[in-house]
């Protein structure tokens, strides 16, 4: 409920935000990186000075003085570098961390919609790899800026040596940068395609690993491997094309900066030959021209990394901007929640014109011969979706006007496919509420599950409860639903994997533990239906009949057929 509602954002805004939110560290890092680059630019200048000393004076005292200056310069550049990198990496890591949390918030947002159409492996990949690439922008910015500073410092030194040389560097560098930029344009597109493919390939692999038990049961491992090989090869073809583009860009950058140095050396050499500058100044000039390769190729690296960061930011923005499955409602449920439900003319997927009333505190059974109808009903009650037509009301307030989180604070729909989370059995059950945990465990017969496990309620259940059997998982999930203690609880087939003796016990306890609050059980299990106040038989045309279980069994052959086989 603390989660802000999803707002559409662009990739550019995501990237800009990632940098601006860390602006203190980015600025600090930029400043220090510039200092480091300036220091690095001075190294070739000092080399020239020392060569000059050797050629002209040969004085050991001067040599020692200038070596001392060189040492001081190294101290400055070394410390600037150390703290600039620390600040940049801090900015990168925290930007990545923030994006990861924003993505998690969005995926878990009560309005839903972000996980539709995406493999969860893909979403995980976006929150790790793509978030990292965007975070890296915070390293790219300071070092890109510092590279520009290095070019400027070099130009200033060159201008003091000779105006034409300085101008050459100042005017020659921008076209070089532009060239680099254009060489990286097609890369941005390719990088995007490559990342999408890589995400797909790892998504397929994660999907196969997730279905490992099924593959094993079927003996289909070999076929699955062949299928993965095809995906992997398709991904390879795409990456190879990108690799060639990267190599070509590297070549273009290297060639153009080399040619640039040749021009600087030519002009400097001619000036020195004419006596306009000294030999030492010529050495500084060529040293600077060589040194310039580093900041210049840094700008090339910057454009590549930025292209990747932009592609990743676009993928992140797509998740953050995913339209919610239900529009947010501002209202909150009437307090205290009495727990009355009313459906009027609800039509949605399998449901057609359903009118239905559940009184506060009632224990209602809903029987539906079609799983599709049950699913549509549950989705509408949880406000995972709004019905195509008709209204669902809680205590006379339409759900469509309520915040989905507010709906779920009052109404818990415990679906059949709800998962358990990594942690202990007890952590799973207590995660949702502070109600009487022991009563919930006993009512769901989950206390027996705990007894059969090595560490009782403190036993870990594995990812998605994988270390429990189906029946054990179901009972722990039921205990969790009961412990949540919502005013309205909708249970969907809670005991299908449980043996019949245990099921009877659960049915008996359900009534007791939910006394005074509304409970709807969507099931065809006679053991559960027998303890309800009233049962409704729901089919594609709406409510077909209603009454007490025992009466319906007696009077309705269609009910008997659905419930007793």
């Amino acid at each position: 409920m603390t989660t802000p509602d999803p707002v559409p954002v662009t990739g550019t805004a995501v990237l800009r935000g990632a940098i601006l939110e860390q602006r203190r560290d980015v600025a600090l890092s930029s400043l220090l990186a510039a200092g480091q680059q300036a220091g690095s630019a001075l190294v070739p200048v000092l080399i020239g000075v020392i060569v000059d000393v050797a050629v002209t004076s040969g004085s050991p005292g001067l040599l020692i003085l200038w070596i001392g200056v060189l040492a001081a310069n190294f101290v400055v550049l070394s410390y600037s570098y150390r703290f600039s990198v620390r600040a940049a990496e801090r900015a990168a890591e925290y930007a990545e961390h923030d994006l990861r949390l924003r993505l998690t918030h969005r995926v878990l947002h009560a309005g839903g919609g972000a996980d539709a159409g995406r493999l969860s492996g893909e979403l995980v990949n976006i929150s790790t790899s793509d978030a990292k690439r965007v975070g890296t922008a915070n390293v790219v910015v300071p070092f890109g800026l510092a590279a520009i500073v290095a070019v400027l410092v070099s130009a200033a030194v060159l201008l003091t040596i000779s105006v034409p040389l300085g101008l050459l560097v100042l005017l020659g560098t921008p076209p070089l940068l532009l060239l680099t930029h254009y060489a990286s344009k097609p890369l941005e597109r390719r990088s995007e395609a490559e990342q999408a493919r890589a995400a797909h390939a790892s998504g397929v692999a994660a999907d196969l690993v997730a279905g490992l038990r099924v593959l094993k049961g079927l003996g289909a491992e070999r076929t699955a491997v062949q299928r993965y090989r095809r995906t992997s090869q398709e991904s390879l073809v795409a990456t190879l094309r990108t690799a060639q583009a990267y190599a070509a860009q590297g070549g273009v950058v290297e060639t153009s900066s080399g040619v640039f140095i040749a021009v600087v050396a030519l002009v400097g050499g001619v000036l020195a030959a004419d006596g306009a500058i000294s030999v030492g100044e010529l050495v500084s000039t060529v040293g600077l021209a060589l040194f310039l390769q580093i900041p210049l190729s840094t700008t090339g690296w910057t454009t590549i990394e930025f292209a990747q960061a932009r592609a990743s930011a676009a993928r992140i923005a797509a998740v953050l901007s995913a339209p919610p499955a239900v529009p947010p409602g501002a209202g909150t449920a009437r307090q205290p929640v009495r727990g009355g439900l009313r459906l009027r003319g609800v039509t949605h997927e399998g449901l057609h014109g359903v009118d239905l009333d559940v009184a506060p505190g009632e224990l209602l059974g809903i029987v539906s011969p079609s799983p599709a109808i049950a699913r549509a009903l549950l989705a509408c009650l949880a406000r995972e979706t709004d019905p195509e037509t008709g209204t669902v009301e809680l205590d006379d307030v339409p759900l469509a006007g309520l915040d989905p989180a507010a709906v779920r604070a009052a109404v818990l729909v415990a679906t059949h496919d709800a998962v358990l989370f990594a942690g202990t059995l007890l952590e799973n059950v207590t995660a949702t509420g502070a109600a009487d945990i022991t009563a919930a465990l006993v009512a769901a017969a989950a206390d027996e599950v705990a007894d059969s496990l090595p560490d009782g309620v403190d036993s870990t259940v594995g990812e998605q409860g994988s270390s429990l059997s189906g029946g054990q998982r179901q009972r722990v999930a039921l205990a969790r639903a009961l412990a949540a203690d919502r005013s309205v609880l909708v249970l969907h087939d809670p005991t299908t994997a449980v043996d019949s003796v245990t099921e009877s016990r659960i049915a008996g306890a359900l009534r007791r533990v939910r006394r005074g609050r509304t409970t709807v059980v969507v099931t065809t299990s006679p053991a559960l239906l027998a303890v309800t106040d009233r049962v409704i038989l729901l089919d594609g045309d709406g409510v077909r009949c209603e009454g007490r279980h025992a009466d319906l069994v007696e009077s309705r052959s269609d009910y008997r057929e659905t419930v007793l086989t």
């Binding site: 040969g58 839903g112 279905g211 699955a224 491997v225 070549g251 029987v367 995972e384």
Partner: protein, 595 residues
């Protein structure tokens, strides 16, 4: 290859990670992968050496310009060396493009082969091993580790290759100028070696912890994102965001710790640079003074040494990338190089669909036995229902017969042939297990079905779907059998997913089929649809049903009752009801609400 980081430290909750290869095994595995591409590798190396060598001509050409100026040869003499510098740039650029493209292409090919081999072996792993390690371990390896190695193949490896070549060739070139330059330049080397050693020693443990933390983060994200619907239903978003935040901050903290080490590492490298450069400059001063070298040569030597700063840093900085890529590679190779599952020497063919279980014991953990000496004979085409309370060992027995696990004691044979003699290949064709776990594979519906029989025709697919009563809804999908299903695509209901599982069974067409609560997850309404589907899917096969719905037991040929790992009752439904034992109690509870 750097020393492998040991990541096999025990995890909380009795986890035991999958194998991690040693450094030697990793090297050997890379060698094996490289072998089919050795010519490509040789050409790549040659082109890269040529490119780096050509690029080194720039410094002596610049020295040449200095000498020309000092000699007062006039401005025209400068043009020649300057034009050569431009030519060198063009040639070096071309060679770099070709060399890099070849190198990365080579790396990508090896990586593709490796990840395919990884998936191949990963899917062949015994389930117990995967479960002990946690599913996240496999997933993290196939997504995270493959990505880390891929980044290295695209970044660190080519960088290291170029830098290494440049360093070696530059030092040679300095020696060629004057041997004394080379000797004093090497003064920096002890500092660099000491620094690199210090770094690897200190960074290794930090990176190892970093990988564990990143694995934990990945696992948490999978747990949270995979269970997003449940998180929303139970309003657990805040709790899960906190969990992700905690894991993420731990990872961030360790990364920053590594960065602090790295920056101290660089400070020491700066010292080495200064010592070497000062030594080269002083040497040049002395040599120019006594006239043994020209100012141009001294310039070239100083420029050479200065131009080493970049490659040395870039080579040493890739140490940390190489460390984490090495650790990731070891984790991939650890699984990819597991021996392929062995097939027995002489295979016997099963004679029929009979199943014989003799004195079978099983324990997942030595101190907690699950089965205690179960004996069971099932005739060909017989239908047997397995009944008992949760945790009685029904699922374990089903998995043992299906060959998913190997019993810790006793023997199981199919059609008169022991599972071991049958070998995994033949066992898979003899028995299929449909579990309570429904997983619809991402891809088209037809692709999903063809997992069971890759060469099945469209007509066979439709027939299988029709057998399990699924053809109606399958045809009603937006693109029929070509509809993309599974996670992220069209979602099938639990019933539909189970029908799909049964259709796969029909396509696989094994003589023995085991259904483990295959109808339970679908909910009670779906269960009836599935029961009918299961009956048709089992026609003509030996069937073992793990039953919770007592109707399945009542209509089976025989019922077997398990209680805490022991077979306590066996017989026809009527006999067992009349006997008044455990089965009778279960039946009574079941039918009490139904009459």
């Amino acid at each position: 290859m750097s020393d492998t980081v040991d990541t096999t430290s025990p995890l909380p909750g009795g986890r035991e990670l999958l194998p991690v290869a040693t450094a030697a095994d990793t090297r050997a595995a890379v060698g094996r992968l490289l072998r089919p591409h050795r010519w490509r590798a040789v050409v790549t190396l040659a082109v890269l050496v040529a490119g780096s060598a050509v690029a080194l001509l720039v410094a002596p050409l610049l020295g040449r310009i200095v000498d020309v100026v000092v000699a007062g040869a006039g401005s025209a003499a400068v043009v020649g060396p300057a034009v050569l510098i431009a030519v060198v740039a063009v040639v070096a650029g071309l060679l770099t493009t070709v060399g890099m493209s070849l190198l990365v292409g080579l790396g990508e090919r090896l990586l593709a082969r490796l990840r395919e081999q990884f998936v191949d072996r990963a899917l062949a792993l015994p389930l117990e091993q995967v479960e002990r390690a946690g599913g996240g371990d496999l997933t993290a390896r196939v997504t995270g580790d493959v990505a880390v190695v891929g980044e290295a193949v695209r970044g660190a490896v080519p960088k290291l290759a170029r830098a290494g070549l440049t360093i070696v060739l530059t030092l040679l070139a300095m020696g060629a100028l004057d041997w004394r330059f080379l000797v004093v330049a090497l003064l920096a080397v002890p500092i660099q070696i000491h620094t690199a050693r210090w770094y690897v020693r200190n960074a290794g443990p930090v990176y190892a912890r970093q990988r564990v933390a990143e694995g934990g983060l990945q696992q948490q994200l999978l747990d949270t994102v995979g269970g997003a619907a449940t998180v929303r239903a139970f309003l657990l978003a805040d709790d899960h965001v906190d969990r992700v935040r905690g894991r993420s901050l731990t990872a961030v903290d360790l990364v920053l710790r590594g960065i602090r080490l790295m920056t101290r590492f660089y400070a020491r490298l700066n010292l080495a640079e200064f010592v070497g450069l000062a030594a080269v400059l002083v040497t040049g001063f002395l040599l120019v003074g006594n006239g043994s070298v020209t100012a141009g040569t001294a310039t070239a030597a100083a420029l050479y040494f200065h131009s080493l700063f970049g490659p040395i840093s870039s080579a040493l900085v890739t140490i940390d990338e190489a460390l984490s890529a090495g650790a990731s590679l070891a984790r991939i190779v650890g699984v990819a190089e597991l021996p392929a599952p062995g097939e027995p020497q002489h295979r016997a063919l099963p004679m029929d669909g009979s199943v014989k279980v003799a004195d079978v014991h099983h324990a997942y953990r030595a101190d907690r036995p699950v089965l205690h000496g179960v004996d069971l004979d099932i005739g060909a085409a017989e239908r047997v229902a397995l009944v008992g309370a949760s945790g009685a060992g029904k699922t374990t027995l089903a998995k043992l017969i299906a060959g998913v696990h190997r019993p810790t004691g006793g023997s199981i044979s199919l059609g008169g042939v022991g599972l071991d003699e049958l070998g995994p290949e033949l066992a898979r064709r003899t028995v299929v297990l449909v579990t309570q776990e429904v997983h619809v594979f991402a891809g088209t519906l037809a692709d999903d079905l063809r997992l069971a029989r890759p060469d099945a025709t469209e007509a066979q697919l439709r027939e299988a779907l029709s057998t399990v009563g699924a053809l109606g809804w399958a045809d009603a999908l937006p693109d029929g059998l070509d509809t993309a299903v599974g996670e992220g695509a069209h979602t099938l209901s639990v019933t539909q997913a189970q029908q799909l599982a049964l259709a796969r069974l029909v396509l696989a067409d094994p003589p023995v089929a085991i259904l483990d609560e295959a109808t339970a997850e679908a909910g009670s309404a779906g269960a009836r649809v599935l029961e009918a589907a299961a009956t048709r899917a089992l026609a003509g096969r030996t069937g073992l049903l793990v039953a919770h719905r007592m109707t399945q037991a009542a209509t089976a040929d025989r019922v077997v009752v398990l209680d805490t790992g022991r077979l306590v009752e066996i017989g026809h439904h009527d006999e067992l009801v009349a006997a008044g034992g455990r089965y009778a109690a279960l039946w009574e509870a079941w039918s009490a609400t139904r009459t």
